[in-house]
């Protein structure tokens, strides 16, 4: 599943960040690494996706979120 498809208040885990080295580096260094647990705070149409990860509220560009594969936690 893609991060951009998750609904608000879903807890999930990052499966893959894709292969764009530049992007992987930027997003990893701000806290989204593969295997980390996070929570979707808000996901509105035409807006960046808001997530909460490592005690930080992050806004991620929508297009970038399509590169992130996630799995929903039970």
């Amino acid at each position: 599943m893609k991060l951009s498809e998750l609904k608000a208040e879903t807890s999930a885990r990052v499966k893959s960040l894709g292969n764009d080295q530049h992007f992987v580096n930027r997003i990893t260094s701000i806290g989204m690494s593969e295997g980390v647990d996070f929570e979707v705070v808000k996901n509105d149409r035409k807006m960046p996706v808001l997530i909460y990860v490592r005690e930080t509220l992050l806004a991620l560009n929508r297009n970038d979120c399509e590169k992130i594969e996630v799995e929903v936690k039970a």
């Binding site: 701000i30 808000k42 005690e55």
Partner: protein, 614 residues
């Protein structure tokens, strides 16, 4: 030599620490051969001098951006005797990533747990001693806005420079090739270091009442625009008193200086330079500094309380269509007041190409001065209804111009594959530390003032040389002679030599346009005197209208209004853009593009309008 380098992620409070440590004893320049800002400063403590370097960079050290390469090499070459790594104590697990990256470089270090006030307000407890034992380097809990914490920091620096410590524990990344695996190992190391030191990442997130409004798609946008509008008014209120005093300087200083020098029989050229140019340069530089001061106070405040990050979130989607991202929103709105403010506001953007592109686009936003000139000129030629159409036309062209600029420069400045979409933390709402906001705004304003003095003087001198007359009669100036010679060429662009000269002066300062027109058409006052503000010969719009109407056609007037509006904003905005981008090449390119496109626009409007307007 005691050289300390500061390293930390954005929002770690690094610049506050740097500014407070060094005060006004800092120097801003470029890293050799790069478009990256280099900030050095110094302070004296107990009679010993310490040099401080603010290392550029973003969230990591090995991402191959110019900033990161500079920082990595700087630390590797041991140019600093001590590296002070700053982390955000309220988001310790995430911000320790910078320390994990730094660990590979094997250099003497101290760790600063900044934002302890925020961490405390969130009831986060951090055992700094335990962390220090594990890491093998000193760990200092710190609040960048607390003056008393700085003595502790300076004591620590003093001690560590004599007896430095290096990290005793580092992430184990031997035999690892894959970047993701390495990142995983670094976070695992952080988790190990923080175990028992602080509680990490177990809390669930709840939006507070402010964020429920500010982050909602419609209500949030309305509130953001309203707040920025009010913020803009506040910035104007701050700078108007300074500008008022500044604007009186040329008028006040002109006569006394001229009389004084004439008393010594000084050559009239020198009298003119000292009595016209210098007071005006002071005025322009002071205005510029005042703008930067006002804008930085408001921006500093909005940024520190966490508001700007929310605005960026709201407008990311729209701006990504121009090749920009959410963080460009505030500079663009500020551009409606003053392009200088807008251009210096782009410093929040972390990608250089997008920052330069944002400045190029901000230039297309008509500033306050244009709105005070364009409607006046328009009303001399067109009835009220026509003037409203002209204004609507200008607004429509603004959006078109933004789109054109993003198309023309977007490909090379921010190519699709290098565009960084917004990845931004929304910090928790903070209280503002006013003293520090004002101090930082003052340093920035003072820095601009010093630079502006030099540059404005030089450019003024060139313009003065062209417009100087000993008699006050326009026809004796070099400007007139060149103007009449080149008129056949300027006619192609739809402008006679007079409107063309006024167009040129609009690149110098938009507010000067009316005065210059007055000098050229009514013949009151010399162009030099008016452009340099020494004589504010009151412009009588009705008299000017009569004179202009007899010499200028409606089509030429229309072409002229658009050409002035979409010319380069002003010399001061040009300087600010150069200063923020550190790239002469790109500033010049964008400037040439604006002049060229303004002339083309003027040409098209004139020839099309000539068919309809008589």
């Amino acid at each position: 030599m005691n050289r300390i380098a500061l390293l930390g992620q954005p929002n770690s409070g690094k610049s506050t620490v740097f500014n407070t440590l060094t005060g006004s004893r800092q120097h801003v320049g470029n890293w050799p051969g790069k478009t990256v800002e280099k900030k050095d400063g110094s302070y004296t403590y107990k009679g010993v001098m310490y040099e401080v370097t603010d290392l550029p960079g973003s969230y990591s050290l090995f991402g191959n951006s110019d900033e990161e390469i500079i920082t990595e090499n700087y630390i590797r070459r041991k140019e600093a005797d001590l590296v002070c790594v700053l982390v955000d104590a309220s988001q310790l697990e995430r911000s320790m990533y910078m320390l994990a990256e730094f660990a590979e470089l094997d250099a003497p270090a101290v760790l600063l747990l900044n934002m302890m006030d925020v961490a405390r307000s969130q009831n986060k407890k951090i055992d700094a001693e335990k962390l220090s034992d594990r890491l093998g380097i000193p760990v200092l809990p710190f609040t960048a806005a607390e003056d008393k914490d700085y003595d502790k920091l300076k004591d620590l620096f003093e001690k560590e420079l004599v007896q430095p410590h290096k990290l005793s524990s580092v992430p184990d990344i031997s035999n690892m090739q894959d970047a993701k695996e390495i990142a995983g190992a670094k976070y695992a190391w952080i988790t190990k270091m923080l175990e028992g030191v602080t509680e990490t990442g177990k809390s669930r997130f709840k939006l507070d009442k402010w964020d429920r409004i500010l982050l909602s798609p419609v209500k949030g946008k309305i509130v953001c625009i309203a707040v920025i509008f009010v913020g803009f008014l506040a910035a104007m209120m701050i700078c108007i008193p300074f500008m008022g005093v500044g604007s009186m300087l040329p008028g006040l200083m002109n006569r006394p200086i001229a009389d004084f020098l004439n008393g010594f029989n000084v050559h009239p050229w020198l009298v003119s330079i000292f009595s016209l140019l210098i007071p005006n340069t002071l005025y322009f530089s002071l205005s510029m500094a005042a703008f930067v001061f006002g804008v930085n106070i408001v921006f500093g405040f909005l940024e520190e309380i966490g508001f700007l990050a929310r605005t960026a979130y709201q407008f990311d989607h729209v701006l990504s269509k121009l090749g920009l991202q959410g963080k460009a929103v505030a500079p663009m709105l500020m551009g409606l007041g003053c392009t200088i403010g807008g251009a210096s506001g782009t410093r929040v953007m972390d990608n250089w190409g997008q920052k330069m592109l944002a400045m190029a686009i901000v230039w297309a936003v008509p500033c306050g001065s244009i709105w005070s000139v364009a409607p006046v000129v328009s009303s001399m030629f067109f009835p009220a209804g026509g003037t409203i159409l002209v204004i609507i036309g200008i607004i429509a062209y603004v959006f078109f111009m933004m789109w054109v600029v993003s198309k023309v420069f977007g490909k090379s400045l921010a190519p699709e594959e290098q565009r960084s979409g917004m990845i931004m933390e929304l910090p928790p709402y903070h209280k503002a530390h006013w003293k520090h906001i004002i101090k930082e705004a003052f340093y920035k304003a003072f820095d601009i003032f010093k630079r502006a003095l030099r540059t404005v003087m030089l450019i003024s001198l060139i313009f003065w040389a062209f417009s100087y007359t000993s008699t006050g009669n326009v026809e004796n100036s070099l400007l007139y002679k060149i103007g009449t010679v080149i008129e056949p060429v300027t006619r192609i662009f739809g402008m006679g030599w007079r409107t063309f000269v006024a167009f040129l002066s609009s690149a110098f300062a938009k507010e000067a346009v009316l005065g210059v027109l007055n000098a050229l058409y009514v013949g009151q006052g010399s162009v030099a005197d008016i452009t340099f503000n020494a004589s504010n010969a009151a412009v009588d719009p009705s008299l000017l209208a009569v004179s202009m109407n007899s010499l200028v056609s409606k089509a030429e007037a229309l072409a002229f209004i658009f050409a002035c509006t979409f010319n380069i904003p002003c010399v001061m905005a040009l300087i600010t853009t150069y200063r923020e981008s550190h790239s002469f090449k790109w500033t010049a390119r964008v400037a040439l593009f604006y002049i060229g496109s303004a002339l083309l626009l003027s040409c098209v409007i004139y020839h099309v309008a000539s068919i309809f307007l008589h």
